[in-house]
Structure formats: C-alpha cells, structure tokens
C-alpha cells in the first residue's frame, strides 16, 4: 500500500476592510428622465462581480427593477473617490455608499411623487418601479412618470450622494490595540487527501467549506468565490512559489512550465454551504468573501497530510519532495529508536 488517505480541518476568521489611513468610498446616483437610475462609481470589478452585486443593492434600495439601474464605473473624471478593490472591502464599502446615495435619491423621488399624487412622502413606497400609497396599491405612479414630472414640470433633481468611511485608527505601539476591521467573516474547511508514500505526491480528493459571510447578495457568485478560492488555496498549499528553493533565488520561475498552478485536471470535488449571519454594519448585513476563501484549504490540506502519513510539513508549498524527505526522516527516527 503506497497510497494513504487522510482528512484535515481548519477554521478561519477574516477581517473586512482595511484601517490604516481611513477607508472611504463614495457613490453618486441620479435619475434619468426615463426613470432609469445611474450609479456613478470609480470602483473596480476584478472578476468577483462587483458591478452585479452593486446593481442588486441599488435596485433593492431604490425599489426599482434591476434592469432600471445602470452601473457606471471606472472613470476618475466622472465619478467620485473609491479607495479600491482589496481587503474584502468592495461590496461592504461600496454597498454602504450606494445605499446611502440611493436612499437620498429615493427621498427626492418620493417628494416629487408626493406632489404629483397629493400624498405625504412618508405614506409612499417604491416597489417594482412604481410609487404607491402604503395600503392602497391602486394609488400609484410609475417611476418614469415621476422622473418626467421632476425634470419637466417641477425642475427638481432626483439624485443622491453616498459615502462610507471607516475612520483612520491608530495602533497602540506598546500593546497592538487597534480596530483592524469592520466585521469578521468565518469559515471551516475540511480537506480529504491521498498521499503516495513512495513519491510524496499529494492528491486533494475533496474539499468541503462552510462559510459564514454575512448576507449573500448573490449566492451563485459567493459560491464562485469559495470554489475559486479553494483551488487557489490548493495551489498555495501544494504547488506554488516563484522561488522553489527560497530563500535562495536559484531557479526563479519564468513561465507556466516552471510555476505550477492547478489546472482543470487538478480541481477536486468541492462542496460548500453558506450560513448567513448578518453583520451589523454591512449593506443589508454583508460581510466579505473575496479573500478568505483561499485561506482555509491551506492548513486543512496540511493537517490532512499529517492525518494520512503522520508527518508535519509546515513549509509551503508542500511539494512531493518535502513530503518524501519528511517521511524518510520519520522512518529513520523510528528505526533509530
């Protein structure tokens, strides 16, 4: 028997947002005469789907259909400041700024609608692109009609400004006391591996992940982060480094022939479950899921290797060579004792 299986677990926390020099993001929203809302941002979508989830948050807050929201981002000439997309902050920060802007725009919308409908603004709600009087769904006006009235009859703007700021916080140099995050997400991963004791090769068979990331704005994209992060974490654990003999600089990698990343043939079976415990300060209870998903598989895999063959390989990446050397050391120690 040269192939041995093992299972390992790992639990992690992950902080949302940075807190070094203050961490703001702004959003502006305006209503077009056609009743569409444009959200102006300078935030960046790296592929995680920011443009999509921000559209969902804006539509939710405004009470209009998703199709009625345009997300316009990526131009410093036309949109206000955003710190950037990193630190698992984007959905949290941008989402909060967009809610603030959308609420202001919605108030303006309702004030115009109130004049048009001869009702009090506080008695009105916006749902599915229509303004109606609470309890009287028939007393209604489309957002389009309100927008037209605002532009061409009342001369009023329907727009909103939003900002979210995590204020700058210092670090006590003596104790390290600080406020390093806005909220923390959590996860537990389970890895099942098979180790070839003759070659040291490790195959990840299955990865399980239970994630607690606040409210999910878009569950399919949350799952996309978890699955993608799991495979990246597997690469970190077993394959990747630009300095294969770190700290030596020899054989510095220069191509995909030398720097080994997982391929479609390496992706293990991955099963996930998401628990929604909302944060108190995120938009609709969002925390953040961008970064943490690559973290938990790494120690879970290392622990699974120990479970399988009884060696701790704690120098990443856990290459077959390191596993084999550890197994040989263990054999020597056993035969010596």
């Amino acid at each position: 028997m040269t192939r041995v299986r093992g299972r390992g677990i790992a639990s992690v926390n992950y902080p949302t947002g940075m807190n070094l020099g203050g961490d703001p993001t702004q959003a502006l929203i305006f209503c077009q005469p056609t009743g569409s809302f444009t959200v102006k941002l300078s935030s960046t979508d790296l592929g995680q789907g920011l443009k999509t989830v921000i559209g969902q948050i804006a539509a939710e807050t405004l009470g209009v259909p998703l199709e009625g929201v345009i997300i316009d981002t990526g131009d410093t000439d036309s949109a206000p400041h955003c710190m950037g997309t990193f630190a698992s902050r984007a959905t949290h920060r941008v989402g909060n700024a967009v809610i603030m802007a959308a609420e202001e725009a919605k108030r303006a919308l309702l004030e115009v609608a109130a004049d048009e409908m001869e009702a009090a603004p506080q008695d009105l709600v916006v749902e599915n692109g229509e303004v109606h009087v609470k309890g009287s769904p028939d007393r209604k006006l489309s957002v389009l009609d309100v927008a037209l009235a605002a532009h061409f009859k009342y001369g009023r703007t329907i727009s909103g400004r939003g900002i979210f700021l995590k204020p700058k916080g210092g670090v006590d140099p003596e104790t390290g006391a600080c406020d390093p995050d806005s909220t923390e997400a959590h996860a537990t991963a389970v890895a099942e591996v098979e180790v070839d004791t003759e070659t040291g090769e490790v195959t990840v068979l299955r990865l399980f992940g239970a994630y607690e990331v606040g409210r999910q704005v878009n569950p399919a994209m949350v799952e996309g982060q978890i699955v993608g992060g799991a495979v990246m974490g597997m690469g970190h654990a077993l394959m990747e480094t630009v300095f294969p003999y770190y700290p030596a600089q020899d054989h510095h990698t220069s191509s995909f022939g030398e720097y080994i990343v997982p391929t479609a043939m390496d992706a293990p079976q991955i099963e996930t479950v998401v628990l929604e415990y909302p944060s108190s300060n995120g938009p609709y209870g969002v925390k953040g899921v961008g970064e943490m998903t690559a973290n938990s598989p790494v120690p879970a895999i290392v622990n699974a290797i120990y479970d399988a063959v009884g060696v701790w390989v704690t120098d990443l990446p856990v290459t077959p060579e390191k596993v084999l050397r550890a197994l040989e050391d263990k054999d020597r120690a056993l035969s010596g004792s």
Binding site: G47, Q48, A220, G224, V227, M232, S255, V261, M265, A267
Partner: protein
C-alpha cells in the same frame, strides 16, 4: 521593414493582411484586425488564453506566425456568435457563472468547442483533459466543467 501578405479565411470571410514576417496570428488578430477576444496571457504558449481554431484544430495563436497559415481557416470567439445568437457554449458559460474576470474565457470556450466538435458527449474526465492547457485563476474550473457539460446537452437537443 519587409512585409508579407497573407490570405486566409477568418470566421468565414476571406481576409488578406500585410504583416511583418514573424507577426503572430494573435498579434495580427488583435492589433491589425482589432479582434481582441483572443487574449495575450503569456506569449509563451503556457496559458491557453490565445486559443483559436485553425482548420478546426485548437491552436495557440501566440506561437504561430500568421504567414504560416496561408490559405487556412481560422475561427476565433468572434466567429461563434456571428449569426446574432449566442453559441450554446457561450450561453452555458453565461448561465453557469463560468466566467469571472473573463480573461481566460475566450480561449477556454474555443478549447471546449474543439472538444465538442469531435466528441459531442464528452465525459467530465475528457473535458478536464481537453481544457488542461487553459488556465483559469478565478473559478476553480468546476463551473467551467459544468458549463461544457451543459453546452453538450444543449447542442444535442
């Protein structure tokens, strides 16, 4: 500088292009023809993001001088949806969140098309093998495998 004129069929249309001698198919597509679906991920033949079909075969367009495909037929991602609608692979990638940043997507879809053209009902293992030369850093591949399986079903209907 010397140039050479190359005539080939691009997404069904005869195309003639004058380029410098070693200009690659990828550079010609992107910089001369402004068909930028085909990406420059590594220029080393290592990532697959420049994959196109040459006479139906998956090909790394970053390593192939245009002058060498005289008279041949090239299909890029732009050639998949020329009739207005999406190709079933495109539909499936869209529906199943198989693209995140989208940078590997064109090459991935072309590699998958090369597979489905010769094997209409591939197993998951066969899909993995067909896509092994196309790297993705965002999705963890599983949504892509599901999308190709889904596209095969759509194509068979």
């Amino acid at each position: 500088m010397d140039t050479t004129t190359v005539t080939f069929t691009l997404n069904g249309t005869t195309t003639a292009l004058a380029v410098s001698p070693l200009t690659t198919l990828r550079t010609a597509l992107r910089e001369n023809l402004h068909l930028s679906a085909t990406k420059a991920g590594c220029s080393q033949g290592g990532c697959g993001s420049c994959t196109v079909l040459v006479d139906g075969e998956p090909t790394l367009s970053c390593l192939l001088p245009l002058a060498l495909i005289e008279g041949q037929e090239v299909t890029t991602l732009e050639g998949l949806s020329t009739r207005g609608g999406l190709h079933p692979l495109q539909e499936a990638f869209y529906d199943r969140f198989a693209a995140q940043c989208g940078y590997c997507t064109p090459g991935m879809i072309m590699a998958a098309k090369a597979l489905l053209d010769r094997n209409a009902q591939p197993t998951r293992e066969e899909i993995r093998e067909a896509l092994v030369g196309n790297l993705c850093r965002c999705t963890g591949y599983l949504p892509i495998l599901e999308a190709v399986e889904d596209a095969a079903r759509r194509l068979s209907q």
